[in-house]
Amino acid sequence: MRSILTLSLLFSTIRLATPLVWAAIGGLYSERAGVVNIALEGLMLAGAFTAAAVTFYMHSPWAGLGAAMLAGALFALLLAVACIRFKANEVVAGTGINILFLGLPAVLSGALFLSSGSTPQVPKEELLPTVSQLLSTGLQWRILTDVSVVSLLALFVVGLTSYVLYSTPFGLRLRSVGENPEAADAAGVRVNRIRYIGVVLSGVLAGVGGAYLSIGQSSLFTRNMTAGRGFIALAALIFGKWRPVQTMLACVLFGFADALTIQMQGVAKLPSGEDVPVQFIQMIPYVVTIVVLAGFIGQSRAPGALGVPYDKES
């Protein structure tokens, strides 16, 4: 009984951490390039809605996933144009995107599906598959392969990001425009172009995270289904000091806290015989972020030029 509980806790952690990892690594590309990305929440919602709607019409989760990446990219581009081209305040513009995706999916699903904010159910066999479904492994391997393909890919993306960031010319440029755009510019790097790429990449990855929520973990889009996961991803990014592997570990920690909340509901009791209030476990990621930002647990230093638009003339 005990081992079943721990095993299910493990899988539950993986499931809940997956969308966080995608969104946080997305945020990493944007923020390491120097553009604050408060819009992760909205971009995830864009991906989640698009994935569910496209999968419903096209009957293919892969089409849905691709469309989600495209939608994320498109609206991240909108954010990038506002912030980079027109020098909008990045936090304000990001908030605009977040509010847009409280409204837009609801209006579209109202018109397309005559619902009040959710898409129709996608049949089970059209959801993003688990590794065991994809490889049709035998029962004896089920226990190890019963994770979503998207979770496995998340691991791959973290490794890839680590490599790209620290071992490729593009990664060097990305970090340099985020740390010191003047110096990067003087060295011949096209600062704003790199920033556009960073922000659009963040949309693509956050879109995947959203798609996983709607056509991986569940089977439809519901109103505001991210429920703050975009902000938790942002918190994980800060907790992880804007580094890929640390950020992933932070996501796993926050996912674990979430999994614990679900498992403890109605099961665990305080010594006084009362339920453990879930609200206090829900607070963990947010409290941790504040504590980390204040510098109590090591220093978490943001990229040097984060939030500062680059103006060649000035």
Binding site: F86, L100, A106, F231, Y286, T289, L293, A294, L306
Partner: protein, 364 residues
């Protein structure tokens, strides 16, 4: 002329937002004309339309002012949502605990609870910034979630009437109720919930104007917002200003609790806020961080919110969520108003209209 310049960009931003909104309505196959007629038309009928519009405007004036004061001080308060939740709960808490007191004592105490709780919750990110240099944007976002969880916990475990399936507190004492405007205004029925808190909101606007432009405190807040280094050199303690500004901002957001708890539901109702804190950002930006602008912008968003109901009911395909889209578009267009500056400067007659925006270079 300066006044006209100040009006121009917000006006263009709203028109652009409505134009894009019309495209969305066209895209889903409904009539933009009909949608906008319902959206804007239903707000001006007497007494229901106007009464409800003023009721919806009340919290938005408070949160708009909150964001505006912070922006004047160079701070971006994304945390009005959390501040108003904590404050509303505190209001109800005092109203429940001291229910026996007479109205002359209880109402002021409840109001103080709203203002005080909002100020404390707002001052936390201020203190964190002043003491540790951690950015207020991230901290206010985190504190929003913490606030919601905290008051959710208190409601669920401690202040709910046993057996009540709804997440709401016990009712506050009768003497804590504040009057609905219908009691004084002939022709306005008392069933319409616009209440004395609306008058408080107008007073708050006037007070913020006096504070910011007629007092030394306000001068120091604005000086800090314009150029912290110069302010510090001029003898202003920037750290103190950061905490003070955030506390004032939080107090203003907290006054939403007066409208909600004392004037409307007479109890704490979990999840009552219809994104007031975030709409406050749109209100402040559109109102150029000026109290008069805040009132105008709050009224506009209240009209839209009121109009969302008939849009839901009487169009084929458009839902009231179109209001959220318009709000988001207004924020985006106001934030990116540099895009209008080029074409307008070509005409030359409105050069260099001052921007009411937060400095884009606020480092995180």
């Amino acid at each position: 002329m300066t006044f006209l310049r100040g009006l121009l960009f917000p006006l263009i931003a709203v028109l652009c937002a409505f134009a894009v909104g019309a495209l969305v309505v066209l895209f889903i196959g409904d009539s933009p004309v009909e949608t906008y007629r319902l959206l804007l038309g239903s707000a001006f009928s007497w007494p229901d339309g106007i009464g409800y519009t003023l009721f919806f405007a009340t919290p938005l004036i408070f949160t708009g002012l909150a964001v505006a004061v912070a922006l004047r001080g160079g701070l971006l308060n994304i945390g009005a949502e959390g501040q108003l939740y904590v404050a509303a709960f505190a209001t109800a808490w005092v109203g429940i605990k001291l229910a026996g007191l007479p109205a002359v004592l209880l109402v002021p105490l409840c109001c103080l609870a709203a203002i005080g709780a909002g100020a404390v919750w707002g001052a936390i990110p201020g203190l964190l910034k002043a003491r540790f240099g951690s950015h207020e944007v991230i901290n206010t976002i985190m504190l929003n979630f913490i606030a919601v969880a905290l008051v959710g916990y208190l409601t669920q475990y401690h202040y709910r009437i046993p057996g009540d399936p709804i997440m709401e507190s016990a009712p506050i004492g009768d003497s804590a109720h504040i009057a609905r405007l219908g009691r004084f205004v002939p022709g306005l029925p008392e069933r319409i919930p616009v209440n004395v808190a609306f008058l408080f909101a107008l007073v708050a606007c006037w007070l913020v104007y006096v504070l910011l432009w007629k007092t030394k405190w306000g001068y120091e807040i604005r000086a800090t917002g314009q150029n912290p280094a110069a302010a510090e050199y001029g003898g202003v303690s920037v750290r103190k200003e950061i905490v003070l500004t955030m506390a004032i901002s939080g107090a203003l957001a907290g006054m939403v609790g007066i409208n909600e708890v004392l004037g409307y539901r007479h109890r704490y109702y979990d999840g009552f806020s219809d994104n007031y804190g975030f709409t406050g950002i749109a209100v402040a930006l559109l109102g150029r961080n000026h109290p008069l602008g805040v009132i105008a912008a709050a009224l506009l968003f209240a009209v839209l919110q009121r109009g969302g109901v008939p849009v839901d009911a009487f169009t084929h395909l458009v839902s009231k969520d179109i209001v959220l889209i318009l709000q988001a578009l207004v924020i985006l267009f106001v934030a990116a108003e540099a895009m209008f500056r080029g074409p307008i400067n070509r005409f030359g007659f409105l050069r260099a209209a001052g921007s009411g925006q937060p400095a884009a270079g606020s480092k995180i």
